[in-house]
């Protein structure tokens, strides 16, 4: 039997189809590795071994049936053990969103994105750590303690999908699901040396995703390569009657045999190569762009002139939406409740006592930005400047098919480095926020290592619904490079 750890999704899928391995064996190998090593990483908040076993056996039965009777082969996700970020609901499995205010909450339904994958035979291994309500860039804001980066356990894995990125990097699961509101899939993908897809806004249903910033939230996935993610994306994407913002456009089939990039126009924005960007990241991104040029792409310098306004816009829009979304956590319908003599006191005690510091900060910031007398100057102005940021992308995509740029100013920082300075943590998001404000898709993948051996990532951004362009470019890049095959020693 081949070594099961660090298998890519497509490799695993082909071994499952040929019958060389079973999903039961693969799932057991993942659970064993998690049990042996997750003390060092803390990628998972909870494991679901019974559910996983049952789903793995069902997947094995599907393969057996197909081998006996023929027909269409099971999906590439069939039998694949998967780590699910704890902001996505799975019926009957505790969902905390990294918060004490949801401890004990067992959703009565499954997120559409997850349900579609389960229908195709995916196996749920457990729920992964996240910054509380996905608010953060390091997983340090989880109420249940931080996740450690598998490449250097003194460092953060990024966030907020840090548990999911660490799970893939550590060889705990070939696939993990995440969400990206301001970079929460792409940034941890970069810090952990894995590949992540943040779909266009509206491409994947948000039903069953615990809401943070509803005009920005997107559900996506992380794995070892773009080719591994392409079939996952095709299953997750598409219209859902339960999410009125989910798009009706048909979902393209994943592309095969991507060998060259002839005809692809890539733009490199000057505004992402600024003072403060680690030199080794700038060099690695430019070298990756050269690889794509050698594969036949044309490369031009472009401008996204309002990039520096994305941070102030995001940190008004997202907290404003969060302050409204998180009003539902009041101790009445789910989660623990602080007992108090009247309803108002109960709200104050429950929310004040159970939300963590970053969540309280963002709720208050949003409440302030939306309050009488400040609404137009803060929230209104941020929405108008958001229009400028979206225009930047609209104009860029008239010239180019994809934008190549860094994801983070630095490689993974150390746990505790940003201490009690939230603004310095927010500055980590400067390169990921614009895509969410414009609603465009982003694909993050590894393009090298710095002198300390920490992974470097880059992102390709595309026009709305241009995910196939991004998959094609990243698959071609990964067909001639090996950064995505590196993994940490644990």
């Amino acid at each position: 039997m081949p070594t099961l750890v660090h298998l890519g999704l497509n490799e695993a899928a082909s071994l499952l189809r040929s019958g060389e391995i079973t999903s039961t064996e693969l799932t057991r190998a993942c659970l064993d590795r998690i049990e042996a090593l997750d003390d060092q990483i803390h990628a998972f908040l909870a494991l679901t071994p019974d559910l996983a076993q049952q789903q793995a056996e069902a997947a094995d039965a599907r393969f057996a049936e197909w081998r006996a009777n023929g027909g269409d082969p099971p999906s590439a996700v069939c039998g694949i053990p998967t780590a699910v970020k704890d902001v996505l609901c799975v019926e009957g499995i505790q969902a905390t969103a990294g918060s004490k205010i949801l401890e004990g909450y067992r959703p009565t339904y499954t997120a559409t994105s997850v349900a579609r994958l389960i229908d195709q035979g995916m196996v749920v291994l457990g729920k992964t750590n996240t910054d509380e309500f996905a608010m953060g860039s390091s997983t340090e804001n989880s109420a249940f303690g931080p996740t450690h980066n598998p490449w250097d356990t003194t460092r953060v894995p990024g966030g907020s999908s840090g548990g999911s990125a660490a799970a893939v990097a550590a060889g705990f699961s070939p696939l993990a699901l995440g969400s990206d509101t301001g970079g929460s899939i792409r940034q941890p993908a970069a810090f952990c040396g894995v590949t992540g897809i943040k779909p266009s806004y509206g491409r994947v249903s948000r039903y069953g995703l615990i809401a943070y910033g509803s005009s920005l939230d997107s559900v996506g996935a992380l794995a070892h390569s773009a080719a591994d993610l392409a079939p996952v994306f095709s299953v997750m994407a598409g219209h859902d009657p339960l999410d009125s913002t989910s798009l009706r456009e048909p979902v393209p089939e994943p592309a095969h045999d991507v060998s060259d990039l002839a005809g692809l126009a890539i733009g490199v924005p000057d505004e992402y190569f600024i003072e403060g960007l680690q030199a080794s990241i700038a060099d690695a991104v430019r070298a990756a762009v050269d690889v794509m040029r050698n594969l036949g792409a044309t490369v031009t310098a472009i401008s996204l002139p309002h990039t520096d306004l994305a941070l102030p816009v995001y940190y008004l829009v997202a907290p404003s939406e969060a302050s409204a979304n998180l009003a539902r956590f009041d101790g009445i319908r789910f989660g623990p409740r602080a007992e108090a003599p009247n309803l108002l006191e109960s709200y104050l005690e429950t929310r004040g006592g159970l939300f963590g510091p970053e969540v309280k900060r963002r709720i208050m910031l949003g409440t302030y930005a939306l309050s009488a007398g400040y609404y137009d100057a803060y929230y209104g102005q941020a929405q108008r400047v958001r229009t400028l940021i979206k225009h930047d992308f609209d104009q860029a995509f008239e010239q180019v098919d994809a934008i190549a740029c860094p994801i983070t100013p630095t490689t993974a920082f150390t746990i505790g480095e940003h201490g009690d300075d939230p603004l310095s943590m927010y500055l980590e998001d400067v390169f990921t926020l614009p895509a969410n404000l414009a609603g465009v898709p982003g694909l993050a993948f590894p393009v090298g290592f710095d002198a300390e051996g920490l992974p470097i990532g880059m992102q390709l951004l595309g026009a709305p619904l241009a995910e196939p362009v991004l998959f094609r470019a990243a698959q071609a890049y990964q067909s001639v490079t090996a950064w995505h095959k590196e993994h940490p020693d644990l």
Partner: protein
Amino acid sequence: MPLTLDEVRHIAQLARLKLSRAEEQLYASQLSDILDHVQRLQSVDTSQLPPTASVLPLTAPLRPDETRPSTPRQALLANAASVDDGMFQVPPVLGSDP
């Protein structure tokens, strides 16, 4: 433009968050720093720009008004801190002034 402690208390009350004195001090300082940073948006001339509330054209889609099963009441109530007679139970809204 620093936020005063009174403003922080007012916002926290609107947001239904009970804060300790130490938290009030901390958030007054941290939120002031963040508001200073976002202040730069004020210098952008947006008089001719429409707001972007969503990147999608927002519509209110209609669906056929058909009955379908809903989540069973008992399943929903199972997550609540306190239930009585098939309903969510809450502390008194009036009376027992804090």
